[in-house]
């Protein structure tokens, strides 16, 4: 080939049309809606039985019950034990799983189509006849509590937890996972009741995709689910999201962290918003992929990070927009600067025709790739039906993308991306990050990885390299409504970590992993009081052998001031 022909990218060949399959739809007498897409490419079948209620619909005093109920469906039924179910499913080479998300609950099953009938038997068994055995629930609870602890070692979880709390306030979306106490409270009776009230055919849709015959598929579902009794679907009313008034900075201190996990977030759109397609294209230009602006800037030009992206999560009742990157600690502030540059640029400048077309071409072209596997096609179909998108959603998707204009991109960027009201959440080493990031907000809060609030001031010290040694026995006096109460604080310091105990009239509390920065101490003491673990937070400033500061605990409304001195 001549050099000349190599110089420019080749023209594409003639396009080949991609025809999305059309559905067959019907409803059983009990209200169960059935939608079937024939997909005969390979001998496979996929089922999704989805319910129009999820974690957000849980009763406030039963957090975590939706996930528990879904998980427990396959842990025992009227006819089979947990082990028998696992063996029956896996002996078919099939998979069945059940899970809940914020808005929906879904049972997903797939297998070779030759085992269609056996698979559907098992789906109906776990959905209609779960027995929620006590022993299995106990195991679920203990494993879930361990898992919740494990999550706290993951920076991504910690960032998501704070982001949701700030954006969603009193709305149930604010809670990304239940607390160990929530899980502890779950009971078999609670699950039985929750299952009876929410697993209703008139609150569900059965989506079938695969190598099936339409009439047989309807008859197969009907014979197994027709005796399922409908019930009253409880409507949930939700509090509004809080209105962001200023930019906030929230740091989760993860001492020694090699990286800062940065999230910048605004509340954005729900899934049915008319701004969905403009937002999709805008996000593609700004940060959805490896050729988008923030990736090109933070990774390709600056080398701050392995990847920098923006994304949006459009849920049933609202959602958020996030810009995220994991960057090395030393460039946390520089990364914020580049993020804000890009957030402002997409709001203030019109996107070029070329960038717009590139983003749209990507979204249009990648659509058939996403539908290449039955799993991928099924996911597209599921999101259409769960969110009540138009019947021709799959057919018109690419036209809807193509119709987005440059002005639409700028409009949705201006409307939803609010750099002056954005929530900045950073998980990393607070002593390194705070000075880099604090100029971005007057509202600064710091938490430890357990979600306890720390005093940001302890990081604001002139660093002379070495933290003060706070080791020793401290006799402190607390001012409680004018009364002086003695407490004793025993500390041993290693590096910048302090361990020890706090002795109060209420009992002894263990201190593990307290932080010393310069002459500031921040530590939590876990104290057992009448069978409950109460956390006392100590924030102190040390001056030679004297210390002053505050002690706070959930049982007292305001932090209590203390002063005291050390006997070495």
């Amino acid at each position: 080939m001549t050099q000349a022909i190599r110089k420019t990218a080749p023209e594409p060949l003639a396009p080949i049309a991609f025809n999305t399959p059309s559905p067959f739809s019907t409803t059983l007498a009990n209200g169960l809606r059935i939608v079937i897409f024939e997909d005969r490419r390979l001998p496979l079948v996929s089922y999704r039985l989805a319910f129009f209620s999820g974690d957000a619909n849980e009763p406030a005093d039963f957090q975590g019950i939706g996930a528990a109920t879904a998980s427990m469906l396959s842990e025992g039924t009227r006819n089979f034990s947990s082990r028998e179910l696992a063996e029956k499913i896996e002996r078919l080479g099939a998979s069945i799983s059940a899970s809940s998300s914020d808005d929906f609950t879904m049972v997903a099953a797939s297998s070779l189509s030759l085992y269609n009938s056996e698979l559907l038997d098992l789906v109906s068994e776990i959905v209609l006849l779960p027995s929620f055995p006590e022993s299995e629930l106990d195991l679920y609870k203990r494993n879930t509590i361990e898992h919740l602890k494990f999550q706290r070692s993951q920076p991504g979880f910690l960032a998501g937890e704070q982001t949701a709390r700030i954006l969603y306030g009193e709305h149930p979306y604010a809670k990304t996972s239940p607390s160990p106490e929530d899980v502890e409270k779950l009971t078999r009776d609670g699950l039985v009741d929750f299952h009876a009230r929410t697993y209703l055919p008139n609150n569900a849709i059965m989506i079938v995709v695969g190598d099936v015959d339409l009439e047989e598929a309807v008859a197969d579902i009907d014979s197994r689910f027709k005796r399922w009794m409908p019930g009253e679907v409880t409507e949930t009313s939700f509090p509004q999201f809080p209105v962001a008034r200023e930019r906030t900075l929230t740091i989760v201190d993860r001492p020694g962290s090699a990286q800062s996990n940065i999230v910048l977030a605004n509340v954005a759109i729900d899934r049915r918003s008319p701004d969905y397609f403009p937002f999709l294209v805008m996000n593609q230009v700004l940060g959805a992929g490896a050729s988008s602006r923030v990736f090109m800037n933070l990774r390709e030009e600056k080398g701050y990070t392995y990847g920098a992206y923006t994304r949006f999560d459009a849920k049933r009742f609202g959602g958020d927009f996030e810009a995220t990157a994991e960057v090395r600690t030393a460039v946390t502030g520089d990364s914020l600067k580049e993020f804000f540059y890009e957030l402002n640029r997409i709001r203030n400048e019109s996107v070029s025709e070329e960038e717009l077309n590139d983003a749209k071409n990507f979204l249009v072209g990648v659509f058939p790739i996403r539908a290449e596997t039955q799993e991928g096609l099924t996911n597209l179909i599921v999101s259409q039906y769960l969110h009540g998108l138009p019947e021709d959603y799959l057919q018109t998707y690419r036209d809807n993308v193509r119709a987005v204009a440059g002005a639409d991109v700028k409009r949705v960027a201006e409307k939803y991306i609010q750099p002056e009201k954005i929530a900045i959440v950073i998980v990393g080493d607070a002593s390194e990050i705070l000075t880099q990031a604090e100029s971005y907000s007057t509202e600064v809060e710091v938490f430890d990885t357990n979600g306890n609030r720390l005093d940001p001031d302890i990081y604001n010290v002139e660093s002379d390299g070495q933290p003060m040694d706070v080791s020793g026995s401290w006799a402190l006096s607390i001012d409680f409504q004018g009364q002086q109460i003695p407490v004793s604080l025993n500390l041993t310091q290693t590096g910048d970590t302090a361990n020890g105990s706090l002795e109060t009239m209420l009992g002894n509390g263990e201190i593990s992993g307290g932080r010393v920065n310069g002459n500031k101490l921040s530590a939590a003491a876990l104290t057992e009081i009448q069978g409950e673990t109460v956390e006392f937070l100590i924030n102190g400033t040390v001056n030679g052998d004297s210390m002053s500061g505050t002690l706070s605990a959930p049982v007292v409304p305001e932090p209590l001031a203390f002063t005291g001195s050390r006997s070495r």
Partner: protein
């Protein structure tokens, strides 16, 4: 049931260009999508001491532009055409792949051929990608609880440096990489006669061949790199190590065994033994440890397939206060049971259905097909093995599994890595 199940063979056409590039076409018109995979016969196994992490650093350099494609242009061209792409590095090979609307086959071949022909290696690109790789190392390994344990156990299993060192490499070695090193690496390993090109999906074979010929035909052949020695003694290098993990919230352990190369009858038998032990909720160890004894939070296991000596791992994150040695004894007691009795008839039937199911699902994606075909071509010299892979596994007998477990797993010749949380105090 499984005996009656017959899969239609995939259509495979194989040929070579004069410069030695091996080309495989797998036409399948189910969806108007085409996947292109280019596999180079170079991985971390080719790295010597003091130069670890090069194969992977080089993978990043392949996205930094070539004579007619600007820096980062590869991403851009693929994405604006509606495609997806990536590259990965393992001990065995470095691969590059893209999936595009079928009409964009010429673009994929233009991009892949331009960088095979004329990669742009500059100091600036090298410095920038070195930083990106260091961030990747921090993100995936250094800043993750348990993120380093798989690299550590490979050091414990393998004695040969070609096998034992990590793919991500060391920060020091990455710092030492010079532009000259990178250029030499390119010349030696990124030659057409050291590569395999696979096209899978919807295309006209005649057009595809013409395009391949015109884009790749004039890339010059290079002397092939020297063969490397990946041989190992059968003993593991180190049987026990304790590792303090600052980010781990719980203790954990990982057991590794050294086993025969991929696709040997013994490797296949051990792969299936692994499935019996740890794959799925009805597997022996899940039922025993997660369910019966309720002693572990998480159980996992997998095989690492290599052309040379390979490995199999079983690991667990036990519940707090659990006696780790008891859990390990329980694992070894199941291993012993299989070494004496083999898997049951029920277990064999389950495995057969799972293998068939997995194979059918694998065939849905043109990219997955292309990747499997490329491996068989590069490692075994025969792309048509993709049509035999299911039968190869279905034909393994329970006795073969029993005997392989007896020889390789039910032995003290194994590596144990104990992870101790060191975050607090």
């Amino acid at each position: 049931m499984s005996e009656a199940f017959k899969l239609a063979p995939l259509h495979i056409e194989e040929y070579s260009l004069e410069n030695g590039l091996r080309v495989v076409l797998n036409r399948d018109d189910a969806v108007p999508v085409v996947a292109v995979a280019v596999y180079f016969n170079v991985g971390s196994r080719n790295e010597r001491e003091g130069r670890t992490g090069f194969a992977h650093l080089f993978e990043h350099m392949m996205f930094q532009g070539s004579e007619n494609v600007p820096k980062a242009g590869h991403f851009q061209f693929i994405m604006k055409a509606g495609g997806t792409m990536n590259g990965t590095t393992s001990s065995e090979r470095t691969n590059y792949f893209e999936t595009l609307p079928a009409s964009q086959l010429p673009l994929a071949l233009w991009l892949e051929s331009d960088r095979m022909r004329s990669l742009a290696v500059t100091q600036e690109n090298l410095d920038n990608q070195r930083e990106a790789v260091k961030e990747e190392k921090r993100l995936r390994y250094d800043n993750q609880p348990y993120g380093q344990i798989f690299d550590l156990i490979n050091e414990m299993i393998y004695k040969n440096f070609a096998n034992s060192h990590s793919t991500i490499g060391s920060m020091e070695d990455l710092d030492d990489a010079t532009v000259h090193d990178v250029q030499e690496f390119f010349r030696i390993y990124y030659a057409p006669n050291n590569a395999v090109l696979v096209i899978s999906g919807s295309f006209d074979p005649k057009t595809a061949k013409q395009l391949v010929d015109s884009y790749f035909g004039d890339i010059p052949t290079q002397a092939l790199p020297e063969d490397i020695d990946v041989n190992e003694p059968s003993e593991v290098a180190e049987t026990y190590r304790e590792w303090e993990d600052k980010l781990a919230p719980f203790p954990a352990f990982l057991i590794g065994w050294k086993i025969p190369p991929r696709r040997t009858p013994k490797f296949n038998a051990l792969y299936l033994a692994g499935k019996t032990l740890y794959d799925g909720d009805s597997s022996r160890l899940y039922q025993k440890l997660v369910k019966g004894d309720e002693s572990v939070i998480q159980l996992f296991g997998f095989t690492d397939e290599r052309r040379g000596p390979s490995s199999i791992f079983i690991g667990a994150i036990p519940k707090p206060e659990m006696d780790l040695s008891k859990i390990r004894a329980a694992i070894m007691s199941e291993v012993r049971n299989i070494s004496e009795h083999g898997p049951t008839a029920d277990e064999m039937q389950k495995m057969h259905n799972q293998l068939i199911n997995d194979t059918v699902r694998m065939r849905q994606s043109s990219m997955t097909r292309a990747q499997h075909i490329a491996e068989y071509t590069l490692y075994d010299g025969d792309p048509a093995l993709i049509n035999m892979e299911l039968d190869e596994l279905l034909n393994v007998t329970p006795d073969q599994i029993r005997d392989a477990v007896r020889e390789y797993l039910n032995t003290d010749n194994r590596s144990l890595l104990d992870v101790v949380p060191a975050g607090k105090g």
